[in-house]
Amino acid sequence: MLSYALRRIAVAVPTLLVVITLSFALQRLAPGGPFDQEQTLTPAVRANLDRVYGLDRPLAVQYAHYLGALARGDFGPSLSQRDFTVGELIRQGLPLSATLGLAAVLLAILAGIPAGIAAALARGGGTDYALTALAALGIALPTFVTGPALALLFGLHLHWLPVAGWERGAPRYLVLPVVTLALPVAAYLARLTRASLLEVLRTNYVRSARARGLGSARVLWHHALRPALLPAVSYLGPAVAFVVTGSLVIETVFGLPGSGRYLVQGAIDRDYPLVMGMVIVYAALTLGCNLAADLLYGWLDPGARRE
């Protein structure tokens, strides 16, 4: 197990380094600076601005500085929001985004896996068809369609929940965003769980457990469920990536002040430090969650530890 864990870590760390280097190189070498969109500056002002932000130094020096600062958790000043450092913006937005993402993943697991089990056990029946159709719909609809649609239905027509916004952190403002974000993940988990449970229920060891006279519930809990859940566990890594991506849309749709909106706004403003800081934080989070999912998988399935 330990060597498996070390191997997984040895994959994740270089990937993060590559990301840092790649995004740094891409952004510094690209044409178009952060001050290009404002009124034309005199060369002297321009040179001063470049000097203050260190943009006139050689690339290697800038890179070394950046890596050193990153190690201290300092992402530099934001170029578009002059009063804030990138670190401050991330600290401001990340707790909300993390809450949103975590709640969505939890909801997706709690709704999707039982739904998949129920569909598999009711195979061919009405419940199975209803759940399978619902899952197909959930997978097919993009979040930027379901989000506004749900807000239209539950917010504007039924008045059950607020349409958008974030007042003093009241939980009811999070209900629609979390549901929207969880929906496709739950649907995918349900489909995976259904398919794999059906397959496991056909195996010889399940049949022999039944032949020994064990009840259906016991067979399910003690024999079938653990192997049947493996595909769902291996989907958790991609699910985290999906939730991270989806949160950008969700925060835009529901007007939540999370870090995803800063990332999108940063890209529109061509705010290099902001975009890089956000991408690195998000990449580290995604890679970390992927690593955790891999380790969980390795723990559940000893066969996966050998490569």
């Binding site: 930027f144 649609a149 849309v249």
Partner: protein, 289 residues
Amino acid sequence: MSEAAAAGRGLWRDAARRLAANRAARAALVVLASLTLLALLAPPASPWGYDSLDWHHLAQPPGLAAAHWFGTDRLGRDLFVRTLCGVRLSLLISLLASAISVGIGLAWGALAGLVGGRTEEGMMRFVDVLYSLPYLFIVIILSTVIGRGSITVLLIAIAAVGWLTTARIVHGQTLQLKRREFIEAARATGVPTAGILLRHILPNLAGTVVVYATLTVPQMILFESFLSFLGLGVQEPYASLGNLINAGAQEMESAPWMLLVPAAFLVLLLACLNLLGDGLRDALDPRER
């Protein structure tokens, strides 16, 4: 193809027969064809352009008796024309992006699989690194670097992330093919690597690639609308399904049709493409069923 003709039915004719027998795929094909024709023919035939303003009908709800079938937006632009222009742009971008990304993926995966050794390891490692990042980051970095607004940039950005899955699939298939006897025979008779790639590997990959390309198109439509929705893709006054949905979401309190019309078209388009892709997969590889 000559052996196939001699046998009476080739792989492709078999596949076409199976596809025609698939009712869902057939319906999807019909809807898709009519939607494409409508998107190509209706906007030029309409008295309204995608950016022409009708001051007498601002934010009009849809209705068949009204001057604008699908209503208008706040500026009095015809939503029927704008949505169909959006469909046209989405189809154009997604088809081009799919062609580019499947092309790159095919070349990358087949080459890596065939060459082997260190080169293969490096090439596939590069794919793994890009793969382990959410695709949106790559696109956001690209649009930060290149700037937004131009459709060419959008195309490059989408295609740049679309080829990874194709490369992986093609790589795996090439590795399997490489071990087959007919490749060994070709090598033994002295066919150069390029010849093996063109004559033996690529034709055998065609089925997989066709299926995968069909399934890539809806993926690309999603990428495009996703980016345009966020404001990183197609910009006003041009219409794409993504920026129409975004504009609709902002006006949904007073003009819900502005959201519902483009959203319905997007969902219809995605559903048809996915059904067609699934149908093709079943038709070309009946074992998968």
